[in-house]
Point group: C2
Chain length 458, copies 2
């Protein structure tokens, strides 16, 4: 085996906390996306930054790749060991380390999932707002600069991570940022690490901004005759400056899939799902304003859910839309596309995408966090038909090129991983070379999640 | 002259747009702070990124330092040519290039000042919210990660720059970010450049997020018996989650200086100056809630200014506080300190600082953007008495060490420049080495604003 010597040293260090059993390798060799099974050489379960530092030093000595693993929910092959090596699973590093309710911050280990974190915060009246849908790990969310349904109000992981502890490629442990609300003290290494997908360092601790649970929340679903009217409602709402907590789009096929899966009875047409946060008076005022905008665009059935259980049912439905869509074509695998454009280009991007998908013959419901100009198509392919995967990839490729032509980005929130690598040069030009220069400076052996984000050696 | 050959080549390129007249060198050799006159070798006035690229290539060939210059309002010697070289003044690159009101973005050249930008935006109903007080250039504000009075609501420059064009140390021109509201496409080079103080590249174009002018604004001044009560009011307001647009603190000596300078009649005690933005109903509700918190802490004279001219007078007074304080000791120079701590540590930090200043014998009014945990002391020294400068520097040093001990940062918004360099190792530890590694990767000759932010060669 290529890394036998490294594995022997790691086994001495870790004992039972490293494994290369078939089961462990396979469960860390798959993703929720279309990528084929990709086995690492071993899986380690460190318990501290100090131990991870020792692990990385051993890997560095033997030039063995090290790939971080949170909850395995990423969609572009981020955590797959394409070049072999060691997957580091953070499940033993999933604690809340320090809670500072008076500062509205919490310090956690990377393996904790967002749902567990919010469960632990429940009694404090605070919550962590970033919500990518999947019950991802906080470390993984930071590494991929995740966002999701609430980013339109609370921002992405880039806006909600204050400080990090990071193990570098040579095993050094550094701290970035602080608990101060802002700083101008040099290069923003926290921002550099967030979204670097484990290619510059492995995150072992995160200090997060928290939010106060809103005094009042209100949510609603509304239906539209066509996609254009729904998207125009979003654009006008954002331009008006309404502080939406969520403004989500689902198209007709998504509504149909959701009905079949969740037993709801949405009309099978485009919808917006919205939520407001604030004082009772503020929520009522926002809802009224939104209702007026809606009416101008022919929106219908603006039904108000101010009861917590109705809101929970609504967002449960939205969060399970991915599974609902998959269930609508039994046995299918999904190619989940992701793009983001300036809000003024959203109608055009969605309409052109819809027409393109229709022409391809692949079922591909569209849904997204349209308040950010961000949407997805879930392209469902038969895993037995390789030509469908090719068609889906070609569709995805046209989508991202369309996003670039409209002044947008090839990924709003899923990240680059392996799946979007081929578009980085087109989006960033010489900026991608600079990313490579930074990678080379911090990880000259290219052992940290090699083959992701940057191409190195170039 | 050390760089004669480079200067000859630059003169051939730039003609009248380069100068080494005594007047030009002196006006680009001073700062608003306590640093001694520091003359560059020449001052260039490029008109485009392409021209700046040619300038940088000539400087790179001759290893001549290149230092960006916006409005010259930075406070830590950021734009001073400590190692000689060429100052690049962006006054000829100060245009609005593209306005996208429908996306609430604007693309500008770096030399435009925030006041001119907001003047140009006036008719659109949009504004650029970041407000450091000084009429700084937008490029300089990005380079130093500026913030100021409105950051508590709208964030700092880190939150409000979407995309950049940057000239690198070898003359390459790159583009970072896009006009999409968010992206997960690789390392966040925009965030890396914002706050890098011209040491990694020179910004030649910025795309900024804009905000809608609030439907309604309300501002108020309120007085407190002691600093603790004022600061506790701030802490409770932030923890309550009130979306303050501004929440500023001034102490008694600042109030006295402001009265003398602006003809106001504030009681000479600690004050908070606050502003709310939103709908009429939202502002009224916020003001009521704030009034209740205020009352619990013994705040007095909560006088409401909803007329635009009263608000303008209020913030004019706040923005001129620095000059008012300077005028209170005729002939004095200022050492302006800057620190930022977690909000729960704000009382302790302010009280200890106040006591420390009182003991030093140097007049040092305190004021700050306390909603962010950020405050300043304006230490007034007699330029004829070098021992006062030493006392002030020692005070500043104790302040930043106090900030670090309380989990904060050595600079909330003024940046590192030359003045805070000695504290970077204490704040960042091994992270500072990583900053040095990045600098070395992107500027191996160390020609971009050498001697600032990082120490290189280490």
């Amino acid at each position: 085996m290529k890394y036998q010597e490294a594995l022997n040293e790691l086994a001495t260090l870790l004992g039972q906390r490293i494994s290369w059993s078939k089961f462990e390798l396979e469960s860390h060799g798959q993703s929720e996306s279309y990528f084929p099974l990709t086995l690492p050489d071993a899986v380690a379960y460190p318990t501290s930054a100090g131990e991870l530092s020792e692990i990385v030093k051993i890997c560095a000595k033997h030039a063995m790749p090290v790939i971080g693993w949170g909850a395995g929910t990423s969609l572009e092959g981020h955590a797959l060991a394409h070049q072999g090596g060691l997957v580091v699973d953070f499940r033993n590093m999933a604690a809340v380390l320090a809670l500072h309710p008076e500062d509205m911050t919490v310090t956690v280990q990377p393996g904790i999932t967002r749902e567990v974190l919010n469960e632990e915060l429940r009694a404090t009246g605070l919550f962590f707002p970033v919500d990518p849908g999947a019950n991802a790990s906080i470390g993984g969310m930071a590494a991929t600069r995740a966002s999701g349904t609430t980013a339109v109000k609370y921002g992405t992981m880039a806006d909600n991570v204050l400080a990090l502890e990071v193990v570098l490629a040579d095993g050094r442990i550094i701290h970035t940022g602080s608990r101060a609300p802002k700083s101008a003290a040099g290069y923003d290494l926290t921002a550099l690490m967030v979204g670097s997908e484990g290619t510059l360092g492995l995150i072992t601790e995160l200090t997060l901004r928290l939010q106060g649970q809103p005094e009042c929340s209100g949510a609603a679903v509304c239906a539209f005759d066509d996609i254009g009217a729904a998207v125009d409602t979003v654009i006008e709402t954002i331009q008006y400056g309404l502080p939406m907590a969520r403004i989500e789009f689902i198209d007709g096929p998504t509504a149909a899939a959701v009905n079949a899966y969740s037993g709801s009875d949405l009309p099978e047409c485009p919808h917006l799902l919205v939520e407001f946060h604030g004082s009772e008076a503020a929520v009522a005022e926002q809802a009224e304003t939104f209702g007026e905008i809606l009416k101008e665009h022919g929106g219908k059935g603006f039904e108000w859910a101010s009861r917590a259980e109705d809101r929970t049912a609504l967002w449960h439905m939205r969060h399970h839309a991915y599974w609902a869509i998959l269930a609508s074509r039994p046995g299918a695998r999904a190619v989940v596309t992701d793009l983001c454009v300036p809000i003024s280009k959203l109608s055009q991007a969605v309409e052109e995408t819809r027409a393109d998908i229709a022409e391809s013959g692949i079922p591909g419901p569209i849904l997204g966090h349209v308040g950010d100009g961000n949407f997805h198509a879930i392209l469902m392919i038969d895993p037995e038909k390789p030509e469908e995967l090719e068609t889906a990839k070609a569709l995805s490729s046209r989508m991202v090129k369309r996003a670039l032509a409209l002044g947008g980005t090839v990924t709003g929130e899923h990240g680059v991983g392996y799946g979007k690598l081929d578009y980085m040069a087109a989006e960033h030009g010489g900026g991608w070379d600079v990313m490579g220069d930074i990678k080379k400076a911090l990880d000259p052996q290219n052992i940290l999640n090699p083959g992701k984000v940057v191409r190195f050696p170039a």
